[in-house]
Symmetry: D2
């Protein structure tokens, strides 16, 4: 880390700063230029708060050279991490996987029927929402515990491992037989939840927050890995911008960029990102082309029956068509 | 709610839509124009998901006329809510209050000394962080349970009611003697936490999320009020934009706008919004002028001792100066 | 267009509104509901300003049903527009073209050498900046008139048609032999320039502004088409968001979305969007997969000589590698 | 400027970088640390492009220490600039001025009547749009040359100096008798126009672009000052964010922040920023409290006649009420 001091910094403040930095175990290189003094901080600066130093009166500017993340950093772990979810399902390191299923679990027949259909089309993991984060307290909040049971029933019938979202630490006991626990975009910085997940031995699917930078996403993954759980899958699902033509703005450049920063697998959720069913296929194809390690796709069953699952979901037939298109792209996709 | 249909909508889909809307207890007015058909939905549409309808193939556009919030809505509660925090401390309805204190609780001497100083300067509530949401798992996470105890000690010594942040449902038992529970920006859509807080009989300070619209902020307040707890204070603390010269962009127009939408009090936190100490005073003055019901200000003690609290915090002397400036504005402030 | 009125609207204001709308040639359908009155405006509403109506005291909400653009609207022109640039160079309607060349024109040898190299790799149009919009008045502003001459020399030598940016109406006489005139992101709403370009018989490459919605991009294209020039190519080049890891956020969902809204071709500029050379190839591949009609790529010559063209530019060898990767994707790309 | 190099940088590339920096007249201080090498660039770095260096393969990070602007920089001009507009109208350095008038010039009676009314209420400058930037080519584009004539007539009758917007270099001859030329938000980076304005001896009102950083605003002011025209007034008018409850997000923290960066006066336009008439007064009051040097306010005449000017405009009576409220704040406003 580099700290540029202002001209003629107050001596006592400078001494305080140096003493405090040394107390954090850092070595300090002073290099006095003709109009400014530069301090080079050597050692582990991951605990140093850039904002705080930046705000000191005697400081002109601060620049972090070292990344603040360690366990997720590709520098210290050059090979792709491969996350094993089931005997025949791995993700990362060349293993591309598609997670598919309905937005919400609604009934046993629905959840089992969709599982059968997405499995036929080539999905290797099954998703469905039991706990649903909803903007309105008056909207359907999910089937909760009952929903988890139905998902496990679908798993038994289809053989597909299950991915579903936990919204609170208190829900975790219900997730024992769930294969992958999803952390939703709104919980990406629910640090207490992340710490708990760090103590599990189970893959975590971590979705990027609506207004989170890539570095913040990696710092949240670092929370999980710092606790000992190395099985983290990152998911780009769109960020909030001024553009309202799509629900969010899908940031596909994050795929190749994240993959230079971290060894963790990166998947993409074009359903939530766009909120528009006819954009899911082209964005799934684009994500595959850009080097994503997988996709997460909303698929609903009969639209005549489940009228209101339609906003961003594909029918099983449209999903199968999308899978064909993605599979045609994959052999030609970007690989670093 | 108005739903504009596309030309020649598919009949079966239209019947499904109508049946589904009726099943939600809504009356439907069809008005067929020369090139488009308009459906007017009459009844309580707060449970209807605009995105879902918008995404149906047969729908051209949807427009919500009625707000999706009820308890927080000024239409149904025209008078300002006044939240009573202590015998002599009310906020809202013309009662302007300043909450002040350090970012983090660090020691008994620190927390008690700052309390004395901010009380002298006119603060009527005391804040301090015991549980600290930090981007990095390696950064100081707060004194937690011990921090709450120190805050309660400061309350005893100073007589000031205490405001502090809860990050997880599991922390709530520790907050029994806390006067106001703060929900941080990152937890504004932690719906499970909001539901729990809805069952308490204690004021809740709800901070706007970094990328939350005002309507989303009100929907989160609605979660708390729907549970029965009517003591909600809203807090504008800056939103995330492309501008990086300040940490966030303080949206002061939200004050008069929120006050037309809701009867709840609205306060402003210029410290976190700007992240720059010398901007706190002018933004506190501007917030007061625009009609805010209060302020939340970070104040640290001796900067030579507490070196790294400085980024956005005022010294007690600077805080007293700010209070004088705000008090001079208040008699001339905007009042609806 | 639908206008929802507030309860008990002021009569005189309502009469004024109706009179004014009728004076614009619109028919008005009133439909009185139990708690609100809805006005349906029938006729050409493209000249009606939604913001203005929305702000009237008696108006609760306004919803545009009809798009405000006509000439660019796919509804009135269902087939893809194909823009002919040279005898053997068309873009749109299945014709995918790559525009390549240096950021700035620097010398005859540079501009001609790069032209040879990008032509060999398969580019069909040549770009280079003669007039350069620069944030700083002290930065190189381009070779201007001399730069245009060098580009025309490169065109003569390579046979490639030329694309270059005009920044002001007064420059246009110099562009007579230029094949495609580019309107830069910062000029997307330079309406006087757009009007002038509407009177030319020459293809215009219109780049999306940094904070422009897709509808605003189409309205700017409408300015050109309204003047009689139907040869407009749209270019997505990233929007400004809170994320600073890339220079801008490339919005690839705009490709399939624009193509449902308009018949005009849509190309993508991954060089400016990301600002990072190693992201150009994966984003070019993703854009091709998502159905773009072409790409615009910065290519520089010897990096040892042209040190500072490097930020977002590819070497000719890297460009050739990118072209191979894009050509492998194209047969499998999304086609509506 | 500080350049942090990667470990073991390529020698030839490093030599090229050093040679190129020296060719720009910079001295270079190398300081080799244990894991990274830091180059300090000494001299005038305002012409160095941070993005370009940042993108070089051998570079880890770049940090600008010196601001890239000179003439507008308060460091080199510590006293407030006072811009003289007429014998008795100065702005800046403690002179607070209000510019008011209609959005568009529509007729002589309208333009003269509003001038009389805003003068009575205390406005010292008169504004009105003759050239109107409109998103749609089908919307009213202003009275143009005729509008300028009407404004000059209003100036003659009222004695108020005139502020109006120029959209293109070719319009400038019409502006000879205009007192202040406005550069609109969409033209903030119309660099050719800025250069022309730099050669005039007339005050320029420069509005911040919808997605422009404060540094970019200052760089655009630098374009004008670099040409010799020192009479620049900056105007905050809201930035584009995800929040759609207001038309733009008014960034009032920009007032005190700009005033530390530059000596130029800073005014605020709450009418365009919010787009909602009832927010104009509280935001005008907040801007005054935060230390603005003036305001720009839209005022229309009889709303029954000019129905559609209403969105963000005040009536003359509401404007007079706002002036009273602002005048009550001013003696207590923030002053550095």
């Amino acid at each position: 880390m580099i700290v540029v001091l202002k001209d003629n910094p107050d001596k006592r403040q400078l001494e305080n700063l140096i003493a405090w930095l040394k107390s954090m175990g850092l070595d300090i290189h002073m290099s006095e230029g003709h109009s400014s003094t530069i301090m080079g901080l050597i050692g582990d600066t991951s605990e140093v708060d850039v904002d705080l130093i930046n705000a000191l009166e005697i400081v002109e500017a601060v620049k972090r050279v070292q990344e603040p993340y360690k366990n997720v950093n590709r520098k210290f772990h050059p090979d792709d991490s491969i996350i094993k979810i089931a005997d025949d399902v791995e993700i990362g390191g060349g293993n591309f996987q598609v997670i598919a299923g309905p937005c919400s679990v609604e009934s046993e027949s629905q959840v089992c029927e969709v599982a059968t259909r997405v499995k036929e089309a080539g999905a290797k993991l099954y998703r469905g929402g039991a706990f649903k984060p909803r903007t309105s307290p008056y909207a359907f909040q999910g089937m909760r515990e009952e929903g988890i049971k139905l998902l496990l029933e679908a798993k038994k019938q289809s053989g597909l491992p299950i991915v579903t979202e936990a919204m609170d630490i208190s829900h975790l006991p219900l997730f024992e037989d769930v294969d992958v626990i999803q952390v939703g975009a709104r919980n990406m910085q629910n640090f207490e939840l992340l710490k708990e997940l760090g103590h599990l031995d189970k893959p975590i699917l971590l979705k990027r927050g609506l207004s989170s930078t890539l570095q913040e996403l990696l710092m949240s993954a670092e929370y999980i890995m710092a606790g000992g759980n190395e099985k983290v899958i990152l998911c780009e699902r769109g960020i909030r911008t001024f553009e309202t033509a799509t629900r969010n703005t899908l940031d596909l450049a994050s795929i190749p960029l994240l993959k230079t920063m971290t060894h963790l697998p990166v998947i993409v959720d074009p359903s939530h990102a766009t909120g528009i069913a006819h954009l899911v296929k082209p964005m799934a194809m684009a994500a595959a082309a850009a080097g994503a390690d997988g996709l997460m796709i909303e698929v609903h069953n009969d639209p005549a029956k489940a009228l209101c699952d339609g906003a961003q979901s594909l029918t099983p037939a449209a999903f199968a068509d999308m899978m064909d298109a993605v599979n045609a792209i994959l052999p030609h996709a970007f690989r670093g």
